[in-house]
Symmetry: C6
Subunit: 267 residues, 6 copies
Amino acid sequence: DFIYSLENDVKPALGSSDEVLEKFIERGIINWGATKELLEKGMMFVKQARSPETSNRLCLLIEGAPTAGTSALAAYLSKNSDFPFTKVINSREMVGFTEASKCLKINRLFDDAYRSELSCIFMNDLEQLMGYSPIGPRYQSLVLDAMYSLLSSSPPKGRKLMVICTSKRRSVLEELGLLSVFTAVIRVPFIARVEDVQMVLEESGAMSSDEIDAVVRHLSHGRIFVGVKKLLGLLDTMRVMKGVDSRKRVAAFTNLLEDEGIFVPEL
Amino acid sequence: DFIYSLENDVKPALGSSDEVLEKFIERGIINWGATKELLEKGMMFVKQARSPETSNRLCLLIEGAPTAGTSALAAYLSKNSDFPFTKVINSREMVGFTEASKCLKINRLFDDAYRSELSCIFMNDLEQLMGYSPIGPRYQSLVLDAMYSLLSSSPPKGRKLMVICTSKRRSVLEELGLLSVFTAVIRVPFIARVEDVQMVLEESGAMSSDEIDAVVRHLSHGRIFVGVKKLLGLLDTMRVMKGVDSRKRVAAFTNLLEDEGIFVPEL
Amino acid sequence: DFIYSLENDVKPALGSSDEVLEKFIERGIINWGATKELLEKGMMFVKQARSPETSNRLCLLIEGAPTAGTSALAAYLSKNSDFPFTKVINSREMVGFTEASKCLKINRLFDDAYRSELSCIFMNDLEQLMGYSPIGPRYQSLVLDAMYSLLSSSPPKGRKLMVICTSKRRSVLEELGLLSVFTAVIRVPFIARVEDVQMVLEESGAMSSDEIDAVVRHLSHGRIFVGVKKLLGLLDTMRVMKGVDSRKRVAAFTNLLEDEGIFVPEL
Amino acid sequence: DFIYSLENDVKPALGSSDEVLEKFIERGIINWGATKELLEKGMMFVKQARSPETSNRLCLLIEGAPTAGTSALAAYLSKNSDFPFTKVINSREMVGFTEASKCLKINRLFDDAYRSELSCIFMNDLEQLMGYSPIGPRYQSLVLDAMYSLLSSSPPKGRKLMVICTSKRRSVLEELGLLSVFTAVIRVPFIARVEDVQMVLEESGAMSSDEIDAVVRHLSHGRIFVGVKKLLGLLDTMRVMKGVDSRKRVAAFTNLLEDEGIFVPEL
Amino acid sequence: DFIYSLENDVKPALGSSDEVLEKFIERGIINWGATKELLEKGMMFVKQARSPETSNRLCLLIEGAPTAGTSALAAYLSKNSDFPFTKVINSREMVGFTEASKCLKINRLFDDAYRSELSCIFMNDLEQLMGYSPIGPRYQSLVLDAMYSLLSSSPPKGRKLMVICTSKRRSVLEELGLLSVFTAVIRVPFIARVEDVQMVLEESGAMSSDEIDAVVRHLSHGRIFVGVKKLLGLLDTMRVMKGVDSRKRVAAFTNLLEDEGIFVPEL
Amino acid sequence: DFIYSLENDVKPALGSSDEVLEKFIERGIINWGATKELLEKGMMFVKQARSPETSNRLCLLIEGAPTAGTSALAAYLSKNSDFPFTKVINSREMVGFTEASKCLKINRLFDDAYRSELSCIFMNDLEQLMGYSPIGPRYQSLVLDAMYSLLSSSPPKGRKLMVICTSKRRSVLEELGLLSVFTAVIRVPFIARVEDVQMVLEESGAMSSDEIDAVVRHLSHGRIFVGVKKLLGLLDTMRVMKGVDSRKRVAAFTNLLEDEGIFVPEL
Ligand SMILES: Nc1ncnc2c1ncn2[C@@H]1O[C@H](COP(=O)(O)OP(=O)(O)OP(=O)(O)O)[C@@H](O)[C@H]1O
Ligand SMILES: Nc1ncnc2c1ncn2[C@@H]1O[C@H](COP(=O)(O)OP(=O)(O)OP(=O)(O)O)[C@@H](O)[C@H]1O
Ligand SMILES: Nc1ncnc2c1ncn2[C@@H]1O[C@H](COP(=O)(O)OP(=O)(O)OP(=O)(O)O)[C@@H](O)[C@H]1O
Ligand SMILES: Nc1ncnc2c1ncn2[C@@H]1O[C@H](COP(=O)(O)OP(=O)(O)OP(=O)(O)O)[C@@H](O)[C@H]1O
Ligand SMILES: Nc1ncnc2c1ncn2[C@@H]1O[C@H](COP(=O)(O)OP(=O)(O)OP(=O)(O)O)[C@@H](O)[C@H]1O
Ligand SMILES: Nc1ncnc2c1ncn2[C@@H]1O[C@H](COP(=O)(O)OP(=O)(O)OP(=O)(O)O)[C@@H](O)[C@H]1O
Ligand SMILES: [Mg+2]
Ligand SMILES: [Mg+2]
Ligand SMILES: [Mg+2]
Ligand SMILES: [Mg+2]
Ligand SMILES: [Mg+2]
Ligand SMILES: [Mg+2]
């Protein structure tokens, strides 16, 4: 069952960035195994960020391997925090920026946030925002410094700030000394149980229930390990194989899972 | 038999870049062993990119060793996708550009693509566009960041975007974290069977059938391994050896194959 | 018992930066085990810096692991030095600055300080001010040079200057040759005794005394190791779990301590 | 016997760069052992580049150790290609250029070449044009990128382009991924046989035939290994030792060869 | 006994920089063991620099570990050279300078010096002036080049130039090829004998003679190793412990020496 | 006996740089062991450079360890070449120059030289001109490229160019690929025989013949190894020890030689 589906979106209040956030939740939030618990934990921190009794700065990191679904979950939390000021820091808008102009833009956004009593900033792929790349390794020191300064310093008295970030490389953030600025870290796991695959297949609507049963039977003899985004992407291939015979579709799909190294059959 | 030959080219619709694409298919597409299957797989993803039921962003990587023919195949797919908006990102047009102006140009092209309902962007030699070179190693971080942002972010609602890239260094893209933005990866192999060499020789028209028979007999006692582009290039030498005696021509050609390390005779 | 609590703050004299300093002491100074001795030692150096018989330059380094509470203690000392001129060098105000403008700003602040007879400069996270990051490693050489020059040269005749810095990476400062400019170094330890945890829990007011007793009982069978800032941060989670049953709250808190690796129960 | 001597130079047609090319052939082309075969091979590729049946882009690399004579041979081929448009890319004209202006200049030259139906571009010391130096190692990435783009992309339809380059470091070009853009590579060897030394001595006119006989007798008991340019350079020393006794001249010359490590006598 | 004490300073002649030099000799020159010999050796070189019979360029390097007292001794020599033109190159005045402006400033100072018949230039912490830092390692190549050029080239005919430099990292200067430009190198040792500690304590006036006797008795059972600057710094702590009981003061001081690793008691 | 002494200098013809050259020969050329042979060899190359029968470009490298006397010998050759155009490339004049302006200046000087029929360019410390430093290692690529281009390309027809360079790091030039541009390399040795020391002492006039005899007697029981410049420098110390007793002077001098590691007595 869907926790969030694209249909029931309402247009956002002034200053928020709901449309951008929704682009991260392209296929809704399917409620497979780990999802509910993660979202509850996340919403607890949203509540803590709002509370007048707590520190007035809360930084939350949602991290996981590529395609695990971190961006969608983080966007979901940001959207549902219902903070009057919600802004997204978007690398797409800063293509080709120098380090200095990147810093300027991000800095200005934090200054804007400080003007609101309750504000939420969403930063997707934190290490990518800092131009991190493992060959070298390289990253933009000026942006790293800016991040550190901005994430670790408290908003002015009477203002509360929540920052939600995602990352694919937790260990890099740790090495850079950025991990200690986060109040909490939530790890998004891969799908590793057949039941969870089944639920995703069902909710996606890309295969018939007979087909799903066949797939599930096949998968029960081996090990599965995949991010929800990857799995949904492979189902797109099913969508264009419409007229085809069911048996062939099931075979095509399970072959795909094996070719991509997602499913390893038992020997 | 030729799948595509230069004769039957029709001038392109408004906004497309057919002429540039054709330069990549200088000698047509000869239908040797692997070709058909690769093109069918490719066209299936083109179909998936068009479909309204699938994700509105599809990135396809055509990769293979130098001279394998990746550029020609990718250009063929781009050309035959028949998308109303088709653009080529051409390193030749950006010689001497700073990283920033490169980003600007590429960014603008993506913005243009977003204006069309269905658009296709062709980028040849992705790692070279990012200035990658193994000594150092070096690459242009700003361009890498731009690529990541542009390839991984979805077009606006209601727009569909297909990006087709080629690469000679898949492992570098993987290390740079760029591989995970691709929906699918197609590997172009080298020619390794005598039958495939025979077909290329026949279609090229550079040698007589008697000569080809002699070459094929010679090659059957050893191992052959060559990219289609390299093989066609060596046949150019045959074209300028026109008046020469057939026996000499065959000897010259098989010697060439051995000198270049393409053919290793059995001991 | 609180050594310093936020209530009794008086507005500062002209030229001081008390408000900024207070932001570093968000939750007051709780007098757990090590605190008193550290503050006395610190105040002794403040006295030495004021004395007309001593060198007219005194640099004090307060160092410790992340969350140990170094910033709060250093800010406390700066605030209570009661020097007529007190200034804070704040990385938040220099986001995106080039190295040169950073140097300019810091240099100007020292020049200003030289105009006062007695002045105190507070610099939080010295290595971060120099853009230090362990990946590379990287740092801003120009700023390092500036720091060295400014910290090691004496103010003009008749002027006395005290500089209080904090650092999370003492060994880096040592390697950079900066440690020898400090007159003295004070190390802030982690909390490692149950009694100290108990005092912090009590002063924080986030749990009832019954709850605290239960926590303390639990912690007595194992090893605890945590910075005061981290511990106070975790108590925020307790504040939002208000209506909940006492037993659950205690369990939640001790679980949190174990999950974060702060408490390791005996085997 | 001389294949090419400086006397018979005719002034070049419009647009060509014969004078610059001739500076590379300061002492003509002496026809020692390997020379004829190399030049024939080279001229065959020139023919191939002209042929309307072949690819419209041909890149030829003439490579060899320092002083092997690569520049003279490549210049000879360029000059004798008799292409209506012939241009030399000269590092001497770009001393102190930034990478960007270097790229601009080279790019413009290729654009110019595209305007002619048949054009030839000569680039001496390719790796030096890219600022390659083994300490680091260093090279100018922008220029390397430009080279790759320019050498690998085809001229417009109906235009034919031949590029002749020399290199002292073939392995560097290979590592940089530049070797695969060349249609063919010709290696220029060192002189290693006494007969070849004899021919060079004879053609140079720096020693009498008696002296040459004596030198040759001496050299026959050992191993010789030298580039033609180096050998001709050493003969300059003979030219200034004019009045001297023949025996002394022979001794001086053979000593020189041994001192420079060119001749290793048998033990 | 004091060789130099701050009282007897006379205001300097035109063009000199006596005030800046005096700041380096904040606590005078105490005549402990090594001092006299070092100063005599130094003054001998000053005499040599003045002599019309010797080379017209003399560079003297005073080197030693941090706190050894190199700066004070070098400043003393510069001050007492009584050269009509004496200038100090001060890193404090060049905070935030680019390499180029640093070079400009230093260059100009040498040009100024060339105008005087006899001139002395004092450069404290040579490696720091060149922005040397061991992490990397890093240094400013332009400044290093400037230093080399300026220190190794002779002043115009009829002018005599003496340059006195200090350094904490002799081995770095050696590696950088700068050591060979110095006419002579004088090494300043640490204090390692109890008698020398005693003399410093006595001259400092920070402790009573009874206290000194007690300290000396304590120190005689172990090994001592400390720079004169460090030792004088620690005595500042005694100055603020005025009212305290003698026994406690002695204990405090010997503890301090042990804590700082300066005194290692015999086992 | 002196080959060249400062007395007999005549003012130079128009365009030459004799004054600068003379500064390199501050103490004349003392004719110790190796000197005469080196100068004859050098003058032979000067003759070769002038000869109309030889290549119109001749580059000579005078190399040796620091203080060997390379600069003086190279300057002597340049001065005595009596070329109508003689110019010195002086690092002292380019302090703080950017790489580009350095290249510009050097380039311009070569262009000037090309205007004269016979020209000589003197470049002291070639690797230092390129900003070479072993820590890194570092050097200025643009200047290296310029050097390579300028040294390896021939002057226009009818012009003859001689370039004389000195170097302290022959192996670096080799690694940078610069050694192969030199027509010849002359190595300047250290003084290693007592007779040679004796001659230098005698010519210097800094000690009486009795003193010299005593020194020589002492040195005959051990190994000596020193550059002529260093030796002459140490004799300056003798010049300021004028009034002193002979025995003491001899002892002081031999001690100095031992302290500096120049003389190692036999065991
Ligand atoms: N339970 C779920 N958790 C997360 N995403 C879900 C879930 N159910 C469905 N989705 C959909 O899966 C996709 C997850 O994509 P998302 O961009 O979050 O992945 P990611 O881990 O950030 O991938 P990337 O490695 O590209 O950054 C979204 O389209 C989202 O709508
Ligand atoms: N089946 C085929 N597949 C690919 N190319 C073919 C095929 N048949 C003929 N060709 C021709 O071979 C050439 C392949 O060149 P292409 O530029 O694609 O190779 P490449 O692998 O990209 O080489 P490079 O390493 O230079 O990038 C083209 O001229 C194309 O017209
Ligand atoms: N005894 C204490 N010592 C230090 N801080 C205390 C003490 N008691 C309470 N606090 C509170 O704990 C917090 C310590 O935070 P502080 O910023 O000093 O830690 P830090 O070690 O500098 O952390 P960071 O690693 O983020 O730099 C402050 O809010 C302060 O008010
Ligand atoms: N057979 C030959 N091949 C090449 N050069 C020859 C030959 N005979 C004579 N020469 C002369 O020898 C010289 C070769 O010099 P060239 O500059 O080509 O050498 P190179 O290998 O490029 O040297 P460098 O290492 O300096 O680049 C020219 O002056 C040329 O006129
Ligand atoms: N004999 C002495 N030699 C040197 N300095 C002395 C001596 N006696 C007293 N002093 C005092 O000791 C201090 C030495 O400080 P100085 O700055 O010279 O040390 P340093 O070795 O340069 O230290 P740093 O490592 O900070 O550069 C000065 O204040 C000086 O007045
Ligand atoms: N035979 C000689 N050869 C060289 N120099 C001599 C000779 N006799 C006397 N001199 C003198 O010795 C000095 C040599 O200094 P020079 O600058 O040439 O040495 P260098 O090897 O270049 O030293 P550096 O390492 O500083 O570059 C000059 O002053 C020169 O006048
Ligand atoms: Mg994501
Ligand atoms: Mg290609
Ligand atoms: Mg802190
Ligand atoms: Mg050459
Ligand atoms: Mg000092
Ligand atoms: Mg020299």
